[in-house]
Symmetry: C2
Subunit: 179 residues, 2 copies
DNA sequence: TGAATATGGTTTGGGACCAAACGAGCCGAG
DNA sequence: CTCGGCTCGTTTGGTCCCAAACCATATTCA
């Protein structure tokens, strides 16, 4: 139950179930570790740093995106946060209720809504983000500099491959700092 | 809407918002790309291969886990699937309703519930998984063999780091994780 | 034995999440 | 103008997802 041997079963079970189906085990291993790493990271950060500020993962991502831009339209914020407009509407409603984000309708085109952080929201991020980042640092601390760079590069490549070959429509960018 | 310039903002915004806060940009970049890659992959596979079989991501993962073991206890299935027991209860209820998974109470310890695939479920996975894997292969296709191996290695390392530190937390934090 | 303790799975309550339908605002062709 | 088509953001309906509270079943030990 340590969580370390949990994936061990694959080593042998995969053999009996998958080998005859012509499965590419290397690709499978790489991506299942990807899901696993992302999930674990997300859960960890949600239950420690974000919990202290009573923020969910998605709320945090949205705050981050709005923080980076100083004023951003809903539609764009949704894309950057990698969630749909529908989801964003709900999240922003919550954040607005807590006084962290402000909504403002565009004067010239009244369909648009601009989002920005309130003073409270900005203060929160300035306090929270360094602590968030400190955890991130800890998580990758065992990786050497070059290893880390390689990792980043590999991830970016597969994202690129995904976005090129897939639909040219959606896409979704999370909180990436490009390089 | 290309989704490529969406992240452009970071280049300059990061400078104005983060540099003076002492943020480690390398760690931030690596993990941002991790979230991004996992999210994009998950969405892509959900909306293509899994959609055809009307399965959600989580349902698929649970099916996979149950498939690999031939009979598995609920508690362990939840851990392998990286979801809580509560979530698993709901998912299994759905899968059971569709005749893909069977539930069976343990005779000697009546608290336990064993899960297994039905014949229908097994047939489904034998058809579905190769197609799922084919997409996975495509996603990592631009990565060289050694790059892919490096990627996997890096991901596993950070998961390990994460789990070693996270353990102390759920058992009353005896050892100082922080540092 | 019998009461405290531990463990396994389910229920509850609430936010996140999406696709699809919707209503309001914009704009071009007639 | 104004009608039809487009683009926004929101609402709706339904699943996923978790923490915490909850039963039922073992186990421990006094």
């Amino acid at each position: 139950m340590t969580g370390r041997e949990t994936m061990a079963f694959t080593e042998k079970s995969v053999a009996t179930h998958l080998l005859h189906l012509g499965i590419d085990l290397k690709a499978q291993a790489a991506l299942s570790n990807l899901y696993r790493a992302a999930n674990a990271t997300r859960k960890h950060l949600s239950s420690t740093v974000l919990k202290e500020s009573d923020l969910t993962w998605t709320s945090f991502v949205v705050l981050w995106v709005v923080w980076m831009q100083d004023a951003i339209e809903t539609r764009q914020a949704a894309e950057e946060s990698a969630i749909t407009k529908a989801t964003l509407t709900g999240v922003v409603k919550t954040l607005e209720g807590r006084g962290l984000v402000a909504r403002e309708r565009d004067a010239s085109d009244r369909r648009l809504v601009h989002l920005s952080l309130t003073e409270t929201g900005r203060t929160l991020m300035e306090d929270l983000f360094p602590r968030f980042n400190a955890e991130e640092v800890r998580i990758v601390s065992t990786l050497s500099k070059s290893r880390l760079a390689e990792l980043t590069k590999g991830l970016k490549e597969s994202v690129a491959q995904l976005e090129s070959g897939a639909h040219a429509q959606d896409s979704a960018a999370a909180t990436a700092v490009v390089d």
